[in-house]
């Protein structure tokens, strides 16, 4: 009855008609099999559907088949496009595995506990009929639906964790609700018009006073700083908030006051103890650590704070050599080179690797450092749709066939730049697919693991480990130490020859001050903790903790009805805000309740897609997270950013009770 140690699970979406009715194309695999599902594990598989209408879709159920090792035939089940609601089923006889399909559309249908395929069929019919009669209050297409595959290990339902085994099909479609889009446009329009009006008066005053420098063009021409002057300054207090403690799970935010309508902000001596949901302190190494800090201070005494010279001019200490070896071992590459800043790593390495006649294919949402590096390289840059392997393939084929612009000579080399976790989307890179495409077309892969190294994967080795990609297939691994390791700097890991070449010619190696020895020591010590070389299991605990914390927080946010982007396991979760006025409202109200969140607006995201970003840390305790959720939920209600209906707790309880009966 209990043990299903090794059993294969297949889940396939086979009802193509259903999909083609509404969607143009399906990107990615609609089927997925798991060789083995451990109790309590959460698996997910996603594929994208390109919408024909990009609007509202009232979908019919999808037919999903699944194969269970104990049964010879394919099992069928229907799913409806619904919100992620998990419904528990009573085990039927001796069958161990059940597919629970949930139907929950808006308010009228009660979640039903239904057994077997007959019931699923019934569910399908009912939903269909109601839809036709228009009695079902239809919702916009939610971003995903859930098929819950449950294995009952215990006859008592109440003892089971809710998220036992779930296959999640994500529909990645960020479509702004119409009304929201409209109001967002309207708000920006209003702000722009009002800003223009103020500019007009300002110009008139300036014209009278003749105060501008004669003969010099102004430092900012025209609309270049319009955004800063007229939009950003209004909500300045939501950004650049100073803190006066380490960026740990809780930190002290220094209060600021403004006497001139937010134009300038002055620090006060008052501080506010806040829960930190903003820092990239994924593994909790930001604060003083029992293992790392003493070693760091020792290093400071031995090597002083800075080497004061570049790596080639005597900025290489024995510590730097040790660090490079540690990093190379950790990420699984023969060699590595480290730099004093993560941003400079990208922007100084790329010009060395690709030059004129080369092609860089970059993900559309890559970090600014990669964009700048690519621009600085002099190579041609093409962009592929964010995290869409099929589009990457299309671009690659086109470009290889076309060759260089105008001359049509073949490209010298092609490099594909992707990130492990996209910091503003919280999404994991579809690395396996991208790597196989790059292999097919002989393009080199450059993976930026700034946010993923140390934070994900069973032993913290990043997105390669999590998604099962051999590091040998990724030509260049880049990462930073700022986030998970609580230090500063960045690294490049690759083949021995690559690193030798970089050390010979990379400007960041030749001209920039080498990484500060205490910072280098912090990385070495943090790596030792992660690998368990310090003799404790703290590293493993931290890694388990951040995964658990992230998945808990994400699922709770989903339940509350927030529009949360990103994938499971990723510690970064953006909550969509959209309207410009909601940016300061959300940030200020959370801060009032002692929760510090990051809101991200224009320079870092597209103008319309403002969001709040939560970064979960291993340093957060469950109580911290529950408090944060309470605050975010109440602020979310107040600000009106729960764009999806929430999962009703009452109904769920009822249903659970019924099952018990």
């Amino acid at each position: 009855m209990k043990s299903e140690e090794s059993s294969a699970y297949d889940v396939t979406l086979i009802d193509d008609n259903w999909a083609q009715e509404v969607f143009d194309s399906i990107i990615g695999n609609t089927s997925k099999s798991w060789e083995r599902l451990d109790a309590g594990s959460l698996v997910s598989h996603s594929f994208e559907l390109e919408s024909k209408t990009k609007t509202v879709y009232y979908g019919a159920p999808a037919l999903i088949t699944y194969r269970v090792p104990t049964r010879p035939k394919l099992q069928e089940a229907y799913s409806t496009p619904i919100l992620p609601v998990k419904i528990l089923l009573e085990p039927t006889g001796s069958k161990n595995i059940q597919l629970a399909v949930v139907n929950f559309t808006g308010i009228s249908l009660l979640p039903k506990a239904l057994f077997g395929s007959v019931n699923n069929f019934f569910l399908n019919i009912v939903a269909e009929k109601r839809r036709k009669r228009g009695r079902v209050k239809t919702n916009p297409l939610p971003p995903y639906f859930v098929v819950a595959v449950r294995e009952f290990l215990s006859p008592s339902l109440s003892t089971l964790p809710r998220t036992d085994r779930i296959a999640v099909f994500h529909f990645k479609m960020i479509t702004i609700p119409y009304l929201t889009a409209l109001t967002t446009y309207f708000s920006y329009g209003l702000l722009f018009a009002f800003g223009q009006l103020r500019d007009f008066f300002r110009k008139t005053v300036d014209w009278w006073s003749h105060s501008t420098l004669q003969g010099y063009a102004p430092i900012c021409l025209g609309l270049e700083d319009f955004y800063i002057r007229r939009l950003y300054l209004r909500i300045q207090d939501c950004f650049n908030r100073p803190i006066s403690s380490p960026p740990d799970a809780w930190f002290d935010v220094v209060e600021r006051v403004s006497k001139d309508n937010n134009k300038t902000l002055n620090r006060t001596t008052r501080v506010q103890r806040c829960l930190n949901l903003g820092s990239y302190n994924y593994l909790g190494f930001a604060a003083a650590d029992e293992y790392c800090t003493p070693r760091v201070i020792e290093t400071l005494k031995k090597f002083s704070a800075s080497t004061c010279s570049t790596r080639v001019d005597g900025g290489t200490t024995t510590l730097h050599a040790e660090l490079e070896e540690c990093v190379a071992n950790f990420v699984g590459k023969p060699a590595a080179v480290v730099f004093g800043m993560g941003y400079a790593t990208n922007s100084a390495i790329l010009p060395v690797l690709v030059g004129k006649g080369g092609l860089i294919i970059s993900d559309s949402l890559n970090h600014n450092s990669i964009v700048n590096g690519a621009r600085g390289s002099g190579a041609t840059v093409r962009v592929f749709q964010h995290n869409t392997p099929s589009h990457l393939e299309k671009v690659l084929r086109e470009q290889i066939a076309e060759g260089q612009p105008r001359t049509h000579r073949p490209w010298k080399k092609i490099m594909v730049l992707v990130e492990g976790i996209y910091s503003m989307e919280g999404e994991l890179c579809k690395l396996p697919e991208i790597v196989s495409i790059c292999k097919k077309y002989k393009a080199y892969v450059y993976l930026d693991e700034a946010h993923s190294i140390g934070a994900i994967g069973k032993t913290g080795r990043g997105v390669c480990e999590l998604l099962g990609v051999d590091t040998a297939d990724v030509d260049i691994l880049m990462g930073t130490f700022t986030k998970s390791f609580g230090s500063c700097g960045g690294y490049i890991a690759g083949s021995k020859e690559l690193i030798q070449y970089l050390k010979y010619t990379c400007p960041a190696h030749l001209y920039a001050t080498s990484i500060s020895p205490p910072a280098a020591q912090q990385i070495i010590s943090a790596l030792e903790v992660i690998l368990g070389e310090d003799g404790s299991s703290r590293g493993a605990l931290k890694l388990a903790r951040i995964r658990e914390n992230s998945n808990f927080f994400r699922s709770e946010l989903h339940k509350m009805g927030f529009e949360v982007l990103g994938d499971n396991d990723s510690p970064v979760m953006p909550i969509m805000l959209y309207n410009p006025a909601k940016i300061p409202a959300f940030s200020r109200e959370c801060l009032k309740r002692n929760v510090a969140v990051v809101t991200v607006a224009f320079p870092a995201t597209p103008l319309l897609l403002a969001r709040a970003r939560i970064c979960i840390s291993a340093a957060h305790s469950r109580e911290d997270l529950i408090k944060a959720l309470e605050v975010i939920s109440s602020v979310g209600d107040m600000v009106g950013i729960k764009y999806f209906p929430a999962e009703p707790k009452k109904q769920q309880l009822e249903e659970a009770n019924r099952v018990k009966l």
């Binding site: 003969g215 010099y216 063009a217 430092i219 700083d225 950003y232 908030r241 100073p242 403690s245 960026p247 935010v253 903003g278 820092s279 990239y280 930001a286 790392c292 201070i297 090597f303 002083s304 800075s306 004061c308 080639v312 001019d313 005597g314 290489t316 200490t317 024995t318 730097h320 004093g340 800043m341 941003y343 400079a344 922007s347 690797l353 600014n368 450092s369 700048n372 621009r375 290889i400 066939a401 080399k413 092609i414 077309y441 002989k442 700022t482 986030k483 609580g486 230090s487 500063c488 020859e497 050390k503 010979y504 990379c506 400007p507 001209y511 920039a512 001050t513 020895p517 990051v598 320079p603």
Partner: protein
Amino acid sequence: MDTMWSAFENMVKSASDWVTLTFDAPSARAVVFGVPIGGHLFVEGLLFVVILFLLTQKSYKPPKRPLTKKEIDELCDEWIPEPLIPSVTEEMKYEPPALESAAGPHTVINGKECFTWFSIYSNVAKQDSCTKALEKYGVGSCGPRGFYGTIDVHLDCESRIAKFLGTTDSILYSYGLSTLFSTIPAFCKRGDVVVVDEGVHWGIQNGLHLSRSTIIYFKHNDMKSLQSTLENATHDNKQAKKLRRYIVVEAVYQNSGQIAPLDEIIRLKEKYRFRVILDESNSIGVLGSSGRGLTEHCKVPIEKVDIVTAAMGHALATEGGFCTGSARVIDHQRLSSSGYVFSASLPPYLASAAITAIDVLEENPVLIKKLKENISNLHKGLSDVQGLEIVSDPQSPIVFLKLKKSMGSLKADLQVLEDIADHLLKEYSVFISTSKRSTVDKCKLPTGIRLFVSAAHTESDLEKACESLKKTTSHVLAGH
């Protein structure tokens, strides 16, 4: 003759009359709105039809034949990329000597105590402040400045720098190299005119490249060349008045050790109405009577220089960089400078180290005096090294020696200089560095040996070093 001519005329006339008559015949009596219409109606009508016919025809386009899937497949199969990196040669395998202790005036390399040339002020009383900061804030800041990466020491450090230099405000960057390649694109945009010294370091070159502005180089540290460049840039260009114009110079050139004549540059800048971006990386803490850099050295008020940047990895013996200037200049960078907005902030302990370094500088003017003595001593000591000549300014903390007779190429020169450095380290335990250059660096100035003078060097240290350098140079050059 006349009669013949008139007969011919008559013939032509009658012929044309005949032709007109034939044309007019179908519409001879046609009168439209009181206007009699001749035969040209027919011709015009015909022409009109032809025009209409031509207009309705599709314009000629060469037939488009997009590549078939099979063809693209073949092309993809055939395409062979270059290797990721060129094959590694012997010289690329160079590993710099690894230091086993702090980089002071004396350090341990491969177990030997060596005499070194970096860190201008060694080990000032910074360790305490660093330790305190490490204990209080941890190592990293775990976030960019915008998102809770601003720690109070950062703000303190910014105001300390501004106070020290006498400017309104300053902004901290987390890396010396990234300071300029973020600052320049924040101010210079496409179309703007930037006049640059040809000897500037790679950080500036990269910043200029990223800014996409029009870049004009002038001869290295040559004011006449600067003047003529400015003249050319403004004279012909009527648009110039509407464009932002910048001069970018280094205070002490990393690639040659020369000092920029700031007073002259300011005069020219005011004449031609350019703004000046000055990189003080190698001059802060060194030049001027109290170490306030080139502006103090040339007795130019700092307000005249629009944008001052510096890396703190040199004299201040910490890391990171800063930019200082008017409030408008600084505030603009806080949202438009990519290296500031998109990068994690400076580790707090390094910011507190910078504060302490400035405090120490202000409290101990002796240090600067001692440094200046050392500089002039070294300069004197090295003025007669055979085969090498000093190109750097007598007051520059970078003593830059280049080969008197070039070996023909930068590469060959560098090889000789590296031989000298290796020999010096092995035989005399004196550690010096050569100015290696990246393949992406566009600077064409000759390479050389760079000595960084420190206030902590003693007179006997310097004498010994000069002697050994002389011996080594003659030994190595004799071999070539």
